[in-house]
């Protein structure tokens, strides 16, 4: 089986790859968003603490 055949998925390439692509994007977002949020909160809290001390 070559790559072209693999991506064609027997003519169902669109349905299969949109499914897998969407799944990947949504699952990745569910990890990346909280990681970014945590960094933001930690930065904000650190700033607040610094302001209190000075």
């Amino acid at each position: 089986m070559n790559w072209q055949e693999f991506f064609a998925m027997g003519g169902y390439g669109f349905y299969v790859w949109v499914s897998y692509g969407l799944c990947f994007i949504i699952l990745a977002a569910n990890i990346i968003i909280p990681v970014i949020q945590r960094k933001q909160i930690l930065r904000q809290l650190a700033l607040k603490q610094k302001r209190k001390q000075s």
Binding site: M1, Y20, L22, C23, I26, I31, L45, Q49
Partner: protein, 253 residues
């Protein structure tokens, strides 16, 4: 609590404390990530390259390797949320509240994935993106339940009060879970009947069953990763004025 061995009950008492849980989550994360990749990579490889095409559906059936695990997760997470809701209401356990509200977006995501991949599979196989049959409709209701939990939590300012409200919603909504599961048996649906979770042996070939089970288990570990990450955010927001968060900030500065 004398029925539970001392080390186990000690473990749960420690886990109920936010700072312990926060550092425990950090320790658990790499293991969950490794296990996820160890299962997902062979699962995808076997599912997309090795498993033969279906004799009726051709290669379109390969959507099954994300559709079915995502649908299972949508039910699994909701049941866990309802259990956490019960614990939160009875014992007022903070961690159970945090677990419940942090799980909701992930559960909603899996429900959405199950619905959309089902639609993308239905179009070439059934000739339609959507039908109002019992399975599809009850799964759509599940999505609304998840969205209900998320928006109800967002609508009430005090997080402890909000948690109690969403705990009740999660518990009440659990009646939908058996309806989804048995919908294909109770009603005449366009959606096919069960092929894996049924009394006699699964009516799916082993070469297709193995990647399906690998992906289903991989999704469990993915859920652990995702829920740990969002629980940490929720804990920081709730406990921002507590001593342990101050110490955490000092150790990072």
């Amino acid at each position: 609590m004398r029925f539970i061995p001392a080390p186990v009950s000690r473990f749960f008492h420690r886990m109920a404390s936010p700072p312990h849980f926060y550092s425990f989550a950090d320790k658990l994360m790499p293991w969950m990530t490794v296990l996820f990749f160890l299962l997902a990579i062979p699962g995808l490889y076997l599912g997309l390259f090795v498993a033969p095409a279906d004799y009726q559906q051709g290669d379109s059936y390969r959507i099954i390797y994300i559709h079915v695990p995502a649908a299972w997760m949508s039910l699994f997470i909701y049941v866990l949320m309802a259990i956490a809701g019960g614990i939160a209401l009875i014992w007022r356990m903070k961690l159970a509240e945090v677990f419940l509200v942090s799980s909701a977006p992930i559960g909603a995501s899996f429900t959405f994935i199950a619905l959309v991949t089902g639609s993308l599979w239905g179009k070439p196989m059934w000739g339609t993106w959507w039908v109002w049959d019992a399975r599809l409709t009850s799964e759509l209701i599940l999505l609304f339940l998840y969205l209900g939990v998320i928006s109800l939590y967002g609508a009430i300012e005090d997080r402890r009060t909000a948690s109690r409200a969403v705990a009740i919603l999660a518990i009440v909504g659990v009646v939908n879970i058996p309806i989804i599961h048995y919908s294909v048996e109770w009603w005449n649906t366009l959606h096919q009947g069960p092929t894996v979770a049924k009394a006699d042996k699964p009516s799916i070939h082993i070469s297709m069953l193995i990647p399906l089970l690998l992906m289903a288990t991989a999704f469990k570990f993915y859920y652990a990763m995702a829920v740990l990450q969002s629980m940490k955010v929720e804990l920081l927001q709730r406990e921002q004025n507590s001593q342990w968060v101050k110490r955490l900030l000092e150790s990072k500065a």
